[in-house]
């Protein structure tokens, strides 16, 4: 919307906006106001508290506001072990989030299953939903999490998040089929 307003006076405004930095403004806004949904299942939750608490203070990066409904959030933080029994719940939580959305796997359990190689633990949350950033560590240091958050912010700025790429891909497919719809 803001993009269109500032470019109405130009000919072929949409083309221009696609090429310019103005098109990046929504991404720039998104990366500094991530609303996170902490899906906390295990001991990594302690470290998540440390990340969120004033000493390390994830608020410095604009992601301080945990929402307790996935419908209001755009960053899903998977904090802890995911079991096979939890798989459907995790997928449902992810599906409830509005686009665009990003996923951060916090700790080795959420990334690969960690040291649980057995009947009950899922070998990484990416078996069920696409994950953007993996944070190793059992549990990871808060600095690592903040590092991952900065990495994710770069991804968001470049439009390389999974859901952004998916939206782009679907837009291209629609463009080729010449169907109306959000681009």
């Amino acid at each position: 919307m803001g993009v269109e307003l500032t470019t109405t006076r130009l000919e072929n405004a949409a083309e221009w906006a696609k090429q310019s930095k103005l098109a990046r403004i929504p991404e720039w806004g998104r990366k500094f106001s991530l609303f996170s949904y902490p899906f906390v299942t295990a001991c990594c939750g302690m470290e998540f508290m440390s990340v969120a608490a004033p000493k390390y203070d994830i608020a410095r990066f604009g992601a301080e506001f945990p929402r307790f409904s996935p419908r209001q959030s755009d960053l899903l933080m998977i904090v802890g072990t995911i079991t096979e029994k939890q798989g459907p719940a995790l997928k449902r939580v992810f599906d409830q989030m509005a686009e665009p959305k990003w996923v951060l796997a916090f700790g080795v359990c959420a990334s690969t299953g960690g040291f649980y190689q057995n009947y009950h633990a899922m070998p990484g949350a990416d078996q069920v939903i696409p994950v953007d950033v993996y944070v190793p560590g059992c549990p990871p240091r808060p600095e690592q999490v903040l590092d991952a958050l900065i990495l994710l912010m770069e991804r968001i700025q470049d439009g390389r998040g999974h859901s952004q790429l998916r939206t782009k891909r679907e837009g291209l497919i629609r463009e080729q089929a010449d169907e109306p719809g959000p681009r």
């Binding site: 096979e84 029994k85 798989g87 190689q117 057995n118 009950h120 899922m122 078996q127 069920v128």
Partner: protein
């Protein structure tokens, strides 16, 4: 410690007790499967016993393994599981708060007939513990009011804490469609 409990139990119900032993300060009584409820009722209600507190119920799978030697100077322990001995041991640990004694009841359960009488009528707290034992080892508790899986999901096939369950066999409920190998798609039923 509570050797006198074992002695009193053996004296009161000699036909029900196979043998008794002590291990690591705990008294163990091997009970015949068919007289377990009788022994448990006696232990709970007799004024000299009064085992009012159910501590835990679990099972041991003796497939191919034996207790380790605690002290290397001791002679090796007798073989715990042989071909003619049953594979599973169901354990009930009881505690008497009044007399400050403990006792462990063990019931030998063969592999081809994994059944055991349920004690959930006597101590309600054993209800969920027996469900867990059923969930993990597949022991059927006769007389249990609601014998269902407690931790795992209904779709799970097999009993994961049995020693012959494949160590890394997973039985996923959902998988991403775009994974290169989607076990749910590949063969419909088998997991990784």
């Amino acid at each position: 410690m509570s050797q006198k409990v074992l002695d009193a139990l053996t004296a009161a119900l000699p036909h029900a007790v196979d043998r008794t032993e002590s291990s690591h300060g705990d008294e163990v009584a091997w009970i015949k499967r068919e007289s377990l409820v009788q022994v448990a009722t006696y232990l709970r209600d007799d004024p000299a016993m009064l085992f009012c507190s159910p501590v835990f119920c679990t099972c041991i799978d003796r497939l191919d393994w034996h207790p380790v030697k605690v002290n290397s100077m001791d002679p090796p322990p007798p073989k715990a599981w042989t071909e003619d001995q049953p594979r599973f041991e169901v354990c009930y640990q009881l505690r008497s708060i009044k007399h400050r004694t403990r006792i462990r009841l063990k019931i030998a359960v063969p592999e081809h007939d994994p059944r055991c009488p349920s004690l959930s009528e006597l101590w309600a707290a054993f209800n969920w513990q027996e469900r867990e034992t059923f969930d993990m080892y597949g022991i059927r508790f006769d007389g249990h009011p609601d014998l269902r899986r407690i931790y795992l999901y209904e779709e799970f096939v097999g009993y994961p804490l049995r020693k012959d369950y494949p160590k890394e066999k997973r039985q996923p409920l959902v998988r991403r469609d775009d994974l290169p190998i989607n076990p749910l798609k590949r063969d419909g039923s088998e997991g990784l």
